[in-house]
Symmetry: C2
Subunit: 212 residues, 2 copies
Amino acid sequence: MAENISSAVIGRLPRYYRYLGDLKEAGVVRISSQELSKKMNVTASQIRQDFNNFGGFGQQGYGYNVELLYNEIGKILGLDKNFNMIIIGAGNLGQAIANYKDFDRRGFKLVGIFDVNPKLEGLSIRDIPIMSIDKLESFIKEHNVHIAALTIPKLHAPAIAKQLVDYGVKAIWNFAPVDLNLPEGFIVENVHLAESLMQLSYALTASERDSN
Amino acid sequence: MAENISSAVIGRLPRYYRYLGDLKEAGVVRISSQELSKKMNVTASQIRQDFNNFGGFGQQGYGYNVELLYNEIGKILGLDKNFNMIIIGAGNLGQAIANYKDFDRRGFKLVGIFDVNPKLEGLSIRDIPIMSIDKLESFIKEHNVHIAALTIPKLHAPAIAKQLVDYGVKAIWNFAPVDLNLPEGFIVENVHLAESLMQLSYALTASERDSN
DNA sequence: TAGATTGTTAATCGATTAACAATC
DNA sequence: TAGATTGTTAATCGATTAACAATC
């Protein structure tokens, strides 16, 4: 069905999903691409093009059924499935992610947390045990781990990432400020906080320049 | 000098900056666009085009001086300046950000942390006091706060964001899963973790589909 | 049926890549 | 000078927007 959709389109789906979820919550039953375009500040044309990448979900003269569209986009994003997730690195960021109950609700089930620090072993976050990194291999091979969130320092991230691939993890959610260079086709989604802050810094700097 | 550079270009600058920093660390003095293109997995043409948006930093027949280029990109990104930053919301994510010493090093100085929870008042993270949200207005007006990192739940984020704008903050680094809809031209940089995870989920789902 | 709005094709715009003259 | 590599123009590619026929 959906082969080779551009990443520009995929990048917009979660935002559509969020708006449609809000509309559903608010009890809105139908919406036209034009109404949605006003709310979201994008063109109606883009909305229709985006949805039509996956086969039309609307109806001429009517628009889109909010709940149906919400569910369909959820399916496209795989939110109707359950994925087992582990977190590597129980530092501040790892703990923050471990505490996000929303991820669980959306089908991302946290099944384990790993850290190199032996002092943390035996502790747990939301009943998920923190384990020694030594147990990583056996744990992954025993459990069906789809996603590993990598919240460890830059230095060790590439080596650990390689292990994760070898042990059979399917995707890495990478928070380390480094490119992991994994085998062709392996799924990596990067969250580079420092880069985000630099873009903000650029905007601040540029706006100061302009006002002179 | 640099007016209206596309956000595609700006989005790539921090990555260039990271690679050039690593090269500098490694003692590399010069690099050609072609060598850099191999390392970074982008075209040499794009590298040269990107840099030439800001005036050429290279030299024909030689390439680019690593340290000079690193410093120039740093200046473009505003990393030669100092910005005062506050964090609104001392939950897990707020604490994680507060503990990032790297941001301080790059000129983002954390000057205050705010939370609605009165129990946290009086505590501090890395010697930065956690204050009641009641003190937000006076604090911002007394200190020169450039950036506010917003790490609070979705529900209250838009209202707090509005206040931040009114009180004179220059930019918001928004971690709440909501669009803030602030006045035209006000700087917002979003980090939507849930959306990032959904894109990863899409990739996982699509790869399963393909392998069937 | 008439009106509304989609799905889809065509036109435009912008970003990326290729090519090469300029020049170190 | 000859070789290398940039800076920059031109060609290509892809994404966005506009337009409209199909259809509910």
